[in-house]
């Protein structure tokens, strides 16, 4: 067994992982392990923008941004964290510009800014231009710029290394990480990376759903691995459904389309958001717009042969304006639906987009072992983490911000910790679990296929755990997941080889998805209220008296939660500093 020793190991090379690596790499011996080549990470798919109260085009300040983030998250946001993010946003954008990011510019040559849903002037008075952007490929430019700077600083990457387990050890009665167990795609070799600090930055898990804007590879590996090691997951019931996915495909059309003036229409041609959010209309937060769309379809005002989508209308915009500001997404509409957005409205429907929940951390990006204690030396940042700056609903452009602010914090903290910590001793045979899992899987000759189980999982999640949820639909999903986990035991794979065995890895990823889908559903059953991205038809109102708290889900063989054995649910208080919860109206 090959063992590599590093001060810091970062798992994931998307925006969060590489932002961490730039900091950590200059302070400590750092390795970045990533299952994809860094530039393939899904940060590159982000389109619309990254917000910061630069006030380059109109009056703005970080306090308004904090308020919008808290209100947008339906008051489940930890307000200390939101404040940190909004304050550090300005430097986060300027850092990227100095690293070379080609932002769009104002006539004076400053970074240009545009509108985005839920971002307002003076606590909701009107929409504000806060999103910094590079056409509609802001995420692409962030990912490229961060990779370029990793090249500049000589960051050490281990590309196509899958991290499949976290090694935990006891030091003087305190549990802390000793490294990770990885699987090298090219060779099939299992290797250990021993380290003083470990940072998880493995991104989201949208692939638990069928219709999603997420990449095939977003299977929640880091989240599942942490959970399997007995650490909690926070607020997993909150998943964001983005209003404008290409109908039937889920490919995202950025909210920038509405920020630049596009509007949603039903089969009667009505701009229906005027009814649901009279003040900011099409630029209301995503959960409200997505539910309004789904409601139009349920009430029979959907479009198309099956009346199952609505339309995004850009036809009143100048083609030159569309070309300058939205070139990529209009090309998606042309390529994948054969629709010409200059002259025709584009079929759209909500698509599973963003995980608000994940590995709980504090504002220093330290992972929490429970409500009060941290795991020394373990950090998480980006979509896999839950700080919580997004609460129950993330505002558009706040994630590219989150990955930069908390990625940077995680990188600095991990390196600083490594400076004083001792290299941990490895426990005996730390790779044993992974070796067993891989060997069982490689020889698995059952009758069930990965493809069929994954499809059935995604179907039940779309049908039962999507925009509208009830106790009944959620329990149906839980039953289905239990049956699928049973089938998963009888899986068969074709590829018995060691080199580039993606068949094997898809089976492992499916195991992660099943685990996460169950946690999401159980947490959703627990939350008998509606808040942000979590809407319960049987409990349509927000219930601050009983549910103004985060949920913390643990894997626990001795316990049960909502009828599921082996899980434990606890609650964690929300940090409230400036803003008392109010009704969320737009």
């Amino acid at each position: 067994m090959q063992v590599h020793d590093y001060d810091v190991v970062i798992v994931g090379a998307g925006g969060a992982g590489m932002r961490a690596a730039i900091e950590s790499g200059q302070r400590a011996r750092t390795a970045v392990l990533t299952k994809l080549y860094p530039t393939r990470s899904h940060t590159g798919a982000a389109q619309g923008g990254m917000c910061a109260a630069l006030a380059n085009v109109e009056e703005d300040n970080w306090e308004w941004h904090t308020f919008d983030t808290v209100k947008g998250g339906d008051y489940l946001v930890d307000q200390d964290a939101a404040e940190v993010m909004a304050k550090e946003a300005i430097d986060a954008v300027l850092d990227l510009e100095k690293m070379g990011l080609p932002f769009n510019r104002t006539p004076e040559g400053k970074i240009d800014q545009r509108r985005f849903g839920g971002h307002t002037r003076d606590h909701g008075k009107a929409a504000v231009r806060r999103a910094c952007y590079a056409a509609d490929r802001t995420g692409h430019m962030i990912l490229q710029t961060l990779y370029q700077n990793c090249v500049k600083h000589g960051v050490e990457f281990f590309n196509e290394y899958y991290v499949l387990d976290l090694i935990m050890t006891d030091v003087d009665g305190v549990r802390r990480p000793a490294g990770v167990v990885s699987y090298e795609l090219a060779t099939g070799e299992i290797q250990i990376f021993r380290a003083k600090s470990v940072v998880f930055a493995t991104g989201g898990f949208g692939k638990i759903f069928k219709t999603t804007s997420n990449a095939h590879t977003l299977t929640g590996d880091g989240v599942a691995v942490t959970y399997r090691n007995g650490l909690p997951l926070e607020d997993m019931e909150f998943f964001q459904f983005h209003p404008t996915g290409l109908a039937g495909l889920g490919i995202l059309l950025s909210e920038a389309a509405r920020g630049e003036g596009g509007v949603l229409r039903n089969s009667e041609g009505e701009r229906f958001m005027e009814r649901y959010a009279p003040t900011i209309k099409d630029l209301a937060p995503r959960d409200i717009v997505a539910r309004s769309m789904a409601n139009e379809v349920r009430e029979g005002r959907g479009c198309g042969p099956n009346k199952d989508y609505v339309l995004l209308d850009l036809t009143h915009l100048e083609p030159a304006h569309i070309d300058a500001k939205l070139p990529d997404i209009t090309e998606f509409a042309r390529t994948y639906l054969g629709v010409e957005p200059y002259t025709e409205p584009v079929p759209v429907f909500p698509t599973a987009h963003y995980a608000m929940g994940g590995i709980p951390t504090n504002i220093k990006a330290e992972v929490l072992a429970n409500n009060t204690d941290v795991v020394p030396g373990l950090y998480a940042a980006g979509e896999c983490a839950c700080v919580s700056v997004h609460g129950s609903n993330r505002l558009g452009t706040n994630s590219l911000l989150d990955i930069n602010v908390f990625g940077k914090r995680a990188g600095i903290a991990a390196a600083e910790y490594a400076k004083t910590a001792q290299m941990p001793e490895l426990p005996e045979a730390p790779e044993a679990r992974v070796v067993e899992m891989i060997e069982t899987m490689r020889s698995a000759a059952g009758t069930e296929t990965i493809g069929a189980i994954r499809k059935d999982l995604q179907d039940t999640m779309d049908a039962n755990v999507q925009v509208f949820r009830t106790d009944e639909t959620l329990r149906k999903a839980l039953d289905d997941i239990a049956a699928l986990r049973e089938r998963y035991r009888n899986i068969g794979i074709h590829d018995r080889g060691k080199r580039y065995n993606l068949d094997l890895l898809e089976a492992v990823e499916l195991g992660f998805l099943l685990e996460i889908a169950e946690v999401v559903t159980v947490a959703a059953i627990h939350r008998k209220e509606s808040r942000g991205g979590h809407f319960r038809e049987d409990f349509p109102n927000r219930d601050d008296e009983h549910f103004m708290h985060h949920t913390m889900t643990y894997l626990d063989p001795t316990s049960e939660a909502e009828g599921i054995a082996g899980m434990r649910l606890e609650t964690k208080p929300v940090v409230i500093t400036r803003y008392q919860p109010m009704e969320r109206k737009y």
Partner: protein
């Protein structure tokens, strides 16, 4: 790319007429049989790649990537290829489809002749690892050699560096690159001489050479003036045709050549 906030149009109408075909009745999408010939190479068994044929039922709206998935998930799980985003932004799945380099996720079956078998092979010029997977290291090595990062001199400004919209527009085209290698691996010069930097590295050098904020142009031009640099390009335009991002690759190479010539040595 003029950044004029006033350019947004006035408030759109509350109600408009919706085109007939979107109101309903567009009918079902037809499905059809498709034959794929895929170059398979299992490094633990084979010494040479060979073709295998697969028949699958597909829809016209499907992409080649959907067909590859269908084969992998329903017929033979050992078929190996890279992919991630599935909509042409991550650069994972450049392959040769009917002899042309394209992204599998951006090639719709309706745009191919499905009466004939569709031939899918790994891209050429990079070491073949397995099925449709090649070793990308040599490709990224060339990319790293052109110093693909902003190089500046003088003190850091406190705020952002200023750049006019026109200066920003100057290198817009080459910022779109997703490092998929479709261009480099379609280049006949690269096939015969793996030392040649290849179009993608030059595109990424262009992105910085023409960025008004960058002071490292001379360093990069020195690198590209090398015998394995821009002068090896024979302007066959394969790269421009192959680029899934629509980048004017050959033009970028030409502009870099001109920059070298205009510079006083």
């Amino acid at each position: 790319m003029t950044a004029n906030p006033e350019a947004t149009t006035a408030e759109p109408a509350s109600k408009v007429a919706i085109p007939e075909h979107l109101g309903g009745g567009a009918g079902d999408i037809p499905s059809f049989e498709c034959t794929f010939q895929i170059a398979r190479f299992l490094p633990e068994q084979d010494s040479e790649p060979h073709f295998e044929e697969y028949k699958v039922t597909m829809y016209g709206t499907d992409r080649v990537l959907d067909a590859l998935h269908k084969i992998k998930w329903e017929i033979d799980g050992s078929l190996s290829f890279r992919r991630s985003c599935a909509h042409g932004v991550c650069g994972s799945d450049a392959v040769r489809i009917n002899g042309r380099n394209r992204l599998a996720c951006k090639t719709l079956l309706k745009d191919l002749d499905t009466d004939k078998p569709i031939v899918v092979e790994a891209i050429k010029g990079l070491p073949l690892e397995k099925d449709l997977i090649v070793d990308m290291e040599p490709f990224f090595q060339s990319y790293r050699e052109i110093m693909p990062f902003l190089i500046t001199s003088g003190p850091e400004p406190t705020r952002e560096r200023l750049q006019s919209a026109e200066d920003r527009e100057r290198f817009d085209d080459t910022t779109k690159c997703i490092l998929c290698a479709a261009c480099t691996s379609s280049c006949p010069v690269f096939w015969t001489d793996g030392q040649y930097f290849g179009p993608a590295a030059i595109v990424n050098a262009h992105r910085f050479i023409f960025d008004s904020r960058d002071d490292g142009g001379d360093l990069r031009l020195d690198v590209l003036n090398d015998k394995e640099g821009v002068w090896r390009c024979r302007t066959t335009f394969n790269c421009t045709e192959a680029c899934p991002r629509g980048i004017q690759v050959t033009q970028a190479i030409t502009e870099v050549r001109q920059a070298i010539l205009q510079r006083a040595f």
